[in-house]
């Protein structure tokens, strides 16, 4: 009786669907009942909350490990200092010797130098028995790359000037959008703590929020990804880019989309308020055409490759572009999506936008840039392929987990929850692959300013994705849905994973292209400010969000939950400021890396253009 209406609707849809998914659905319809509030006395001990705490602890541990390595590095530096001091003392001692003593010493030394071994002190004069060829058949070129770490042959492929320019300009646009987009984000976040900062319509919270999200999505991350990918595509196909002209046209179109889209939003022209779908279709069409051009360019380049196999990175890059174009095409269709149809598509779109565009593409970049930094092959090609297909299968089905307990069909919600758990497979496969590739290179972390970025990105890939899966469960939806916890989660992923990995790749590639390295101290400052800022941001919003959810379950007046958030919003603003300052440092580092115009003289041409992969 109680659930009659809801079930009536669901049964109707169930009947139609039952041809497709008979087994799943018969089970799910039994679950379609209203839920009483869960018992929250022991909310801290619920599996999902425990899981999240554990995951955050992992990030903490990584930070501790990095700090440990840095400190031990510092200590060994101190020890070296002591050694040089000892050497000085020794030298002084030698200078203080008189002639007789020196003659004595030199005589002894002469004797020692003239001493020669006869060659057979430990053996006899007969030949060794070597039936199995252990001595005679030593090879330095084994055929087993899985066991033996081999140094990659230096490719010495020339990077054409045009390609350099394309990469630098794409990344340059990305840097601009990062600084602009996060300035907006920081300002909008501060408005929650200080709502009276201004009363300008263009800067009101509702209008600025999508400006922030869309700018960092379509501006920062997209440009950085595509720019970095041009290099990957060309290098792994061992050929030149199909058309540079096309790359430039796409650059202009995508920038135009972000500029026009942001202006529209600030003027109050909003597609419908669906997250990441706030640009109206004429604007988004520009972006989509840019993506189509990028795809054609990548595809044609791979098609004329001079190596036999398509490197795994390119699988991911192709996938990301094709799938994203599919999503955008479906999401912007004008002839359906009335009523909750729009909500179904919105769940699909906003989830795939993140999962298929940013995550898939960035994974593709890791598969090239991580091994190339470490100068060794990826741990397992097959794991990469497994992760590719499971990413496509599971990620696609889970969009509705943003609408748990909503009026959307219950079977959609249940599928989303079940496959959210399935996301463990690609995530674990990917993380294992990257960590195993990094294994044995731990000492490199202290030597490299790039690897900490990779390490944080990879750990966040595991932590952020797993935490997201836990967040899809029904219990966690009571506590965490609709509140600031989600904002923390999206920063954990878009920032912790995507942004950190992109920074790593940029710091790997640009010095190779231009020959200018950034100041290591400033890269370190960038890393630590971004990391600590993100942590402050995350923890404050997660704590505040949890308390907010508990307050709602308790049935306290709504305004209580607004008041209790105040200190957490202030902390978030502090974390956000750290992150923003780190972006300014990053922008400066970018400037240092690209500032020297590459001068071309005849004899330096071959040198400056030779880049080691």
């Amino acid at each position: 009786m109680k659930k009659r209406i809801v079930n009536l609707y669901q049964l109707k849809t169930l009947n139609k669907r039952s041809i497709l998914l008979p087994l799943l659905l018969s089970g799910f319809s039994a679950l379609a009942q209203p839920q009483a509030n869960p018992n929250i006395d022991n909310w801290q001990l619920s599996p999902a909350v425990l899981g999240t705490i554990l995951l955050i602890a992992i990030v903490m541990m990584v930070a501790v490990v990095i700090i440990y390595i840095r400190i031990s590095d510092y200590l060994s530096g101190m020890r070296k200092k002591e050694d040089t001091q000892n050497k000085h003392l020794f030298n002084e001692k030698i200078i203080g010797l008189n002639d007789n003593e020196i003659d004595n010493l030199l005589e002894k030394r002469k004797e020692a130098l003239n001493y020669k071994l006869s060659g057979n002190e430990l053996g006899g004069n007969t030949n060794a028995i070597d039936d199995k060829g252990i001595i005679a058949q030593v090879t330095h070129d084994p055929n087993n790359p899985l066991v033996d770490e081999k140094k990659r042959a230096k490719l010495n492929l020339e990077t054409p000037e045009e390609l350099k320019k394309v990469v630098i300009w794409y990344v340059g646009a990305a840097v601009f959008w990062l600084v602009f987009g996060t300035a907006i984000g920081q300002y909008a976040g501060m408005k929650l703590a200080w709502p009276e900062v201004d009363t300008v319509s263009w800067l009101s919270f509702g209008r600025l929020r999508p400006v922030h999200t869309n700018t960092v999505f379509w501006g920062w991350a997209s440009f950085a990804m595509v720019g970095l990918a041009y290099y990957v595509i060309s290098r792994t196909s061992n050929t030149t880019i199909y058309s540079y002209k096309m790359a430039w046209r796409a650059w202009f179109l995508m920038n135009a989309a972000v500029i026009l889209g942001d202006l529209c939003l600030m003027m109050g022209i909003n597609n419908g308020g669906g997250e990441y779908r706030e640009y109206i279709w004429p604007v988004m069409a520009l972006f989509a055409i840019g993506l189509i051009m990028t795809f054609i360019n990548f595809y044609k380049t791979v098609a004329k490759r001079t190596v036999k196999e398509i490197y795994i990175s390119n699988w991911y890059l192709f996938g990301a572009l094709l799938w994203t174009l599919t999503i955008v095409t479906i999401a912007y269709q004008p002839f359906f999506q009335n009523g909750l149809g729009e909500t179904v598509i919105q769940g699909y779109y906003m989830h795939q936008g993140v999962g298929m565009w940013f995550m898939t593409f960035t994974l593709g970049l890791i598969y090239y840039y991580l091994p190339s930094t470490l100068n060794k092959p990826i741990y397992s090609y097959s794991l990469g392929v497994l992760a590719f297909w499971t990413q496509m299968l599971f990620y696609t089905l889970i969009g509705t987990h943003h609408f748990i307990f909503s009026p959307l069909p219950w079977w959609l919600q249940t599928i989303a929850i079940v496959f959210s758990a399935g996301m463990f497979i690609p995530v674990v496969a990917g993380t294992t692959n990257f960590l195993m590739t990094m294994r044995g290179s731990r000492h490199e972390i202290s030597k490299s300013y790039v690897l900490p970025f990779f390490l944080v990105g990879v750990i966040f890939y595991f932590v952020g994705s797993t935490q997201g899966s836990l967040q899809a469960f029904r219990f966690t939806n009571f506590v965490w849905h609709f509140n600031d916890f989600n904002v923390a989660h999206s920063h954990m992923t878009m920032y912790g994973i995507i942004t950190f990995i992109l920074w790593a790749c940029i710091y790997v590639l640009l010095p190779k292209l231009t020959g200018n390295e950034p100041k290591q101290f400033l890269v370190g400052a960038h890393f630590w400010m971004a990391f600590i800022g993100l942590f402050a941001y995350m923890i404050s919003l997660m704590t505040g969000g949890t308390l907010k959810g508990l307050s709602w379950i308790e049935g306290n007046p709504f305004i209580d939950s607004v008041i209790l958030m105040q200190p957490y919003w202030v902390w978030r603003a502090i974390g956000g400021s750290l992150m923003f300052v780190s972006h300014l440092i990053f922008a400066f580092n970018f400037y240092v890396m690209v500032r020297k115009p590459i001068t071309i003289s005849n004899d330096s041409l071959s040198l400056s253009n030779t880049v080691n992969a």
Binding site: K2, K3, R4, I5, Y9, T13, K16, P34, Q35, A36, N37, K191, L192, P195, T199, S204, G206, I269, N270, G272, G273, R277, I280, W281, V302, I310, W315, F318, L322, W323, T326, I327, P334, F336, Q337, N338, G339, L340, G341, E342, T343, V344, I345, Y348, M392, L397, G399, F405, S406, P407, P409, L412, F482, N483, N486, W552, P557, F558, I559, V562
Partner: protein
């Protein structure tokens, strides 16, 4: 077979085909099904003014902070009498125009309250206008932005009869000599907001939808003030937006309850009547909506008792029976 490692055509075609197939299954088909949902018989289409209001709601991106969905879990009961169903969105989620699509009113963040039933919870136009001009006039702790660009500042001499003047307290005015007049856009938005009421579903008593431990608690208690009902909380949720947490009201908009003769009257009849029937007798104040449908006898008695014993007021408690009698009396006169 497909030789995906070496054949780029097969790789691209396979990944695209499988993905499109999955997308159709998980997104396109369900979306088409939801497209076919019909409106409830009790629902009415938006007037032109309300529709304009919805457009402003969309262009200011109110859904960044406000949801419009009552989930089928008990904690959402404060936002509606029943869980939202797909039909509820028949009129509000139609495509806006050729440039913009159906507004995402369901939202994903509740930085502010859910608005599914805001027209019922807060039906006063005056309150909404004040709140839109600067939310902190009526809710001190609010973090919502003000929308002064939906209002005009006018010299007192230029105000005409047609103008809707908003009674903004002097300390919120930039220029205390000027009057704040609502523009048509503000009025449209308010007309949309006050139209947001959960439509009823046939005969089904809506409140049965969600199991409510609150109601059970109320039945278990048997004192004057039912156990489990906190008059202070109910007051905060229902009344304080206008009469304020300190009971002092807002000059020129909402009357004070502290020291009010009606509230302190030994006989609570007038007080209870006003709560049940609403009040619109004094031109200098905003209209108070009736609460006979949204509040139970127990809840009204808890609120009235709280009002009569707070902010320096001291009058005897009100029992649920008192409220019940007056409710019956009103209903019997209405029938005659």
């Amino acid at each position: 077979m497909l030789n995906l490692n070496n054949n780029h055509k097969n790789l691209v075609l396979t990944s695209l085909t499988v993905y499109v197939f999955l997308s159709i299954l998980i997104a396109v088909i369900p979306a088409y099904q939801m497209d076919k949902v019909q409106a409830l018989p009790s629902m009415e289409p938006f007037s032109e003014q309300q529709l304009n209001g919805l457009k402003i709601y969309n262009s200011e991106n109110c859904m960044a902070c406000h949801t419009q969905q009552v989930r089928n879990i008990e904690m959402d009961k404060v936002w509606g009498d029943r869980p939202s169903i797909p039909s509820d969105y028949f009129y509000s989620k139609k495509r806006i125009d050729i440039w913009r699509q159906s507004p995402s009113v369901l939202g994903s963040e509740r930085t502010g309250p859910d608005l599914t039933n805001v027209g019922k919870r807060q039906s006063g136009k005056e309150w909404h206008l004040l709140h839109l001009y600067n939310p902190r006039i009526v809710v001190k702790e609010s973090v919502m932005p003000g929308y002064p660009w939906l209002f005009e500042e006018k010299e007192a001499s230029q105000v005409t009869d047609k103008d809707v003047v908003v009674a903004v307290p002097a300390n919120f005015l930039k220029d205390p000599n000027k009057k704040i007049v609502a523009t048509q856009r503000a009025l449209d938005l308010v007309s949309y907001l006050t139209s947001l009421k959960q439509p009823t579903i046939g005969e089904q008593p809506a409140s049965d939808f969600i199991p409510s431990t609150k109601k059970e608690n109320a039945k278990a208690g048997n004192g004057d003030v039912p156990a489990g009902l906190d008059g202070a909380v109910l007051y905060t949720n229902t009344c304080s937006a206008c009469h304020q947490a300190d009971g002092k009201g807002l000059a020129g908009a909402f009357p004070p309850l502290a020291g009010s003769p009606i509230v302190n009257d030994a006989n609570p009849e007038t007080l209870i009547k006003i709560i049940l029937q609403g009040y619109d007798a004094r031109a200098e104040y905003g209209v108070m909506p009736p609460f006979s449908e949204s509040l139970s006898d127990e809840e009204i008695s808890a609120i009235a008792t709280h009002e009569r014993s707070s902010w320096g007021n001291s009058a005897p408690a009100v029992t649920a029976d008192d409220v019940k009698k007056i409710r019956e009396m009103i209903e019997s006169t209405a029938k005659k």
